[in-house]
């Protein structure tokens, strides 16, 4: 049976753990607010970009001369998966959920006989995939999220890397997996195809509501559709990746906040439990001493 001082030590250690987790919770909460503000601020650009893409893409038909980013390479043998996770742990299932989804996708693709490679943005994703992916992890990016703000220039590095590899003809299809920020309590791992470009369905509605009323105006394109598309497509990929980072960064803080809130509460329960056991042990100790004294006195 543990002695009284053992209990005291354990209570003290759980108390300091509780202090740490509650501090982490508060830090995460303030970072979450910043991340949400930033995600909000980036909306206008992403929206305008989506609207432009819709206009241009709606105006041309896919032909052999279309840019490869739109039409694809004509094969879907080699897949690249961009896994967006956090750099740090202690945020419940946040990283594992994304990695789990990446694993499912990988095994499905591999079962179909496709080649799968990875680009890991965020330290945790790389660590978790290292065992099974090994050499097929082409590149790992760290230090993008987790700072006070996500810099566009940083996320652009990832985009440029992916585009370079595509230009070099090293893969056919690129899919990105990241945590979509739904609410503070929910982050949904989401798969998004980056290359070849696919119009997300939901943006159709948005586009319609944005369109001015009255007769549909005819657009002039300068230079021409093809040229604009050629310039827009890489930008669009860059913006999509940036948005994923912002979502992921807000989601990470939200997940950590929830996880730390739970941890703080659990620590409180544990302290209550240990205090109860400590008091019982102390009481038992006193009773035992009393019995010893009384029986000693009776024996005289």
């Amino acid at each position: 049976m543990p002695s009284l001082s053992d209990y005291r030590d354990r209570i003290a250690s759980v108390k300091s753990t509780r202090k740490i987790t509650s501090a982490m919770k508060m830090v995460a909460a303030s970072k979450l607010r910043k991340a949400q503000d930033q995600a909000e601020a980036s909306q206008p650009y992403a929206r305008s970009m989506a609207a432009m893409m819709a206009r241009v893409a709606g105006n041309i038909s896919i032909s052999d001369s279309s840019p490869k980013l739109l039409a694809g390479t004509g094969s879907d043998q080699r897949h690249l998966i961009v896994v967006v996770t956090a750099d740090r742990g202690l945020c419940a299932g946040f990283n594992t959920n994304v990695v789990k989804m990446a694993r499912q996708l990988t095994s499905r693709l591999r079962a179909d006989g496709k080649d799968v490679s990875f680009v890991c943005a965020g330290r945790k994703g790389g660590d978790l995939l290292k065992r099974e992916a090994g050499d097929s992890i082409w590149q790992r990016f760290t230090g993008i999220v987790g700072k006070s703000r996500v810099e566009y220039a940083d996320s652009d590095k990832v985009a440029q890397y992916v585009l370079e590899k595509f230009e070099a003809g090293e893969f056919d299809v690129c899919t990105m997996i990241y945590n979509q920020f739904v609410s503070v309590l929910t982050q949904t791992p989401t798969t998004q195809q980056l290359i070849p470009f696919k119009m997300p369905e939901e943006q159709d509605n948005e586009e319609k509501s944005q369109a001015p009323e009255g007769p549909v105006s005819v657009y002039t394109f300068e230079p021409d559709e093809q040229e604009i598309l050629k310039a827009l497509l890489p930008k669009n990929i860059s913006v999509q990746i940036y948005r994923a980072f912002l979502d992921s960064s807000a989601g990470e803080q939200a997940a950590r906040m929830t996880a730390m809130d739970n941890a703080t509460r659990n620590a409180g329960d544990m302290i209550d439990n240990l205090s109860l056991q400590y008091n019982r042990a102390r009481q038992a100790h006193i009773t035992k001493e009393l019995i010893e004294i009384i029986s000693g006195a009776e024996a005289l």
């Binding site: 980036s42 650009y45 305008s48 001015p212 913006v239």
Partner: protein, 143 residues
């Protein structure tokens, strides 16, 4: 809008990180890739890519225009709104010629040292932007 022509057009300048400018202007001149383009209310719909150069906002016909340097991007123009998507946008008065000259010097040194074609191409793009910046500052640009 009444039957009278609206006197202003909404102008928006957005970067990936945030909305930089959003205000009504009487005219805006943007550096389109096919030449500079003056956009006023009721302009026909245009989607254009941009060269590095100056975006000039005319809020009032008598006033000096507000000038902002953009390092390329896209413009989406309709009759009511002109949206400029730019990755880098700096108010003209924040550009210092000495800094740009230094940047140009550094870049040309980088270019000399770069060995791979891909790196060279990247640096050349940056030089083009820096040169456009200098043109903007020294007033060689058309205004």
């Amino acid at each position: 809008m009444s039957e009278a022509q609206k006197q202003t057009i909404d102008f928006e300048l957005v970067s990936p990180e945030r909305k930089l400018v959003s205000e009504p202007v009487s005219m805006v001149v943007i550096p389109g890739s096919e030449g500079e383009m003056g956009v006023g209310p009721g302009h026909s719909s245009v989607l254009s890519s941009l060269n590095p150069g100056i975006v000039a906002l005319y809020t009032n016909n008598n006033e000096e225009p507000r000038k902002i340097f953009v390092a390329g991007g896209f413009a989406d123009v309709t009759a009511e709104i002109c949206t400029v998507l730019a990755e880098e946008a700096i108010p003209l008065e924040d550009l210092k010629q000495s800094e740009i000259d230094q940047e140009l010097k550094d870049l040309s040194e980088d270019l000399g040292m770069a060995s791979e074609d891909a790196d060279k191409a990247k640096i050349e793009v940056r030089i083009r932007v820096a040169k456009a910046k200098r043109r903007a500052v020294t007033g060689e640009a058309i205004f």
